[in-house]
Amino acid sequence: MTHLPRSREDDAALILDSLERPEAFGALYDRHAAAIHWFIARRLGNDIADDLAADTFLAAFRQRDRYQRERLDARPWLYGIAVRLIGRHRRSEVRMWRAMARTGLEVSTDADLDAVDDRLAVTSGVHRALAAGIARMGTRDRDVLLLVAWADLSYQEVASALDIPVGTVRSRLSRARRKLTAELGGPQTKPATEEELWHARA
């Protein structure tokens, strides 16, 4: 279906507008909050995601005057803020990944009903191995890996989100993938070459 084009002004114009009309910032929340919330919930559970997603937009609102107008898409900026906030819960996240690797259950740190869904969703052996690998890798490598895999950001966007060079993104992702390959332990999961990755994500 060719969905009806909904006039989608760029994020930069919206943020610029919010300097004059602060309430306009609510539209940025409407546009991106669901995705940011889900990203955080997958790493820390829905309860913490409720707080951190709102904190992400509050922090973004407070620093919006420093937003670079040439960046039409605000997602890298918002994910960058979210990742920094997630970093404060690093121990909780690692505990969650370890528990998943150990039990094979997608345990969450939630206590609410939504988490019951997670606990009942038994994961595959591959997912357990991946969880073990993610638990063991460094925070910075994990951030890059999950921004690429879950937030669907390009290398350039990840670099922008984390304020690091693109080359560093590549090297961190490469290291993360090597760790996962080792956990999966099979030639069937032979990693792609840097060139393949470049073509896939650039």
Binding site: D30, H37, A53
Partner: protein, 334 residues
């Protein structure tokens, strides 16, 4: 590359945020914007209480849905299924995520909408049609022998009925939008509202009911929401559309099936109750509403001149898909 694909699917069953959760965060953000730092902190404490209440309410409501009784003591007939994250749940929550990220279109009543639809019927083959309808449904138009025909239509009296009954009596873009917008965002309350307003008699003659003359409550709820989403595709309020998808995920027995094609031959995901009857088709990448179709449950009456009395189970009886749908300046414009 396989590691990235595996990681992509990891914890993908995590529930997407409900409208209640997002609303609480938005309220907190806006309160902070309006009140400033000191007021915001005070406000935040209050909002935490509200949020906890919302979550507790949603959990209680979900528990009631799963137990099978939203209102009264009547058990939901399909509520005996296992409590786990299904493909339908994942698809519908993804559809809600997509919906809420869209910007709302707010057409004026006299706005014209052009649609090109392709439809298929068993024994009748595939046809396409171009048509125009005004947003308020007061006029529609089509070409006949090269000439544009514009018809005035009766839209009913908007003040005489509730938005839901107005939509059931006269499904136009405007009544669809109003009906969708009036529904509660909480899934359990939304389904209860539908159950209180939609009955087998209210959908009589709509076509899909003839496949099942005594539809279950789940089928009624699903059919109503599917029609609402289909009819309001061009102007659905994002939050209301997301809420409808979340509610659909809470209907016991709702299923999703991949590998389906719509009337245009495009890949689609089919949502239905138990795999037959009315199906809502979503585009597999964008999760936007792409089409509708009806699949025989084995009891659908066959055409009179055929040998069989009924159409075989799982046979596609009819199917329709949007090829184009756009706002235009006037009838006849594309």
């Amino acid at each position: 590359m396989r590691e990235l694909e595996f990681v992509h699917d990891l914890r993908a069953a995590t529930p997407a945020p409900t409208p209640d959760r997002l609303a609480a965060g938005r309220e907190r953000l806006m309160a902070s914007i309006v009140a400033g730092p000191t007021g915001a902190r005070r406000r935040r404490l209050k909002l935490r209480v509200i949020r906890t209440a919302l979550i507790a309410g949603a959990a209680a409501a979900a528990a009631v849905v799963l137990a099978g009784g939203i209102r009264g003591t009547t058990a939901h007939p399909c509520a005996q299924g296992s409590f786990q994250v299904s493909l339908a749940g994942q698809v519908l929550h993804a559809a809600a995520l997509n919906a809420i990220s869209q910007r709302a279109a707010t057409p004026r009543p006299t706005q014209w909408i052009y649609t090109k639809a392709v439809s298929y019927s068993l024994g009748g083959g595939r046809t396409s049609s171009d048509s125009w309808v005004r947003f308020d449904g007061r006029e529609d138009a089509y070409y006949q022998d090269g000439q544009l025909i514009v018809h005035p239509t009766t839209g009913g009296d908007p003040s005489a009925a509730s938005p839901l009954s107005l939509f059931l009596a006269n499904p136009t873009p405007s009544t669809s939008r109003r009906a969708l917008a009036c529904l509660p965002e909480n899934p359990a309350r939304l389904l209860a509202t539908v159950a209180n307003n939609v009955s087998p008699s209210s959908i009589a003659g709509s076509g899909w009911d003839s496949i099942n003359r005594q539809p279950s409550r789940a089928q009624l709820e699903f059919g109503f929401l599917a029609d609402l989403l289909w009819n309001s595709a061009e102007s659905a309020p994002p939050r209301a559309e997301a809420a409808a998808f979340h509610a659909m995920a809470a209907i016991p027995g709702v299923e999703a099936r991949r590998g389906i094609t719509d009337a245009l031959g495009r890949p689609a995901i089919a949502l239905s109750i138990a795999g037959v009857g009315q199906q809502l088709l979503l585009a597999p990448k964008t999760y936007q509403v792409a089409g509708e179709r009806t699949v025989s449950n084995g009891n659908w009456p066959a055409a009179p001149k055929t040998r069989a009395h009924t159409i075989a189970k799982n046979e596609v009886v009819q199917s329709i898909a949007w090829a184009r749908i756009e706002f235009v300046r006037a009838p006849g414009a594309r």
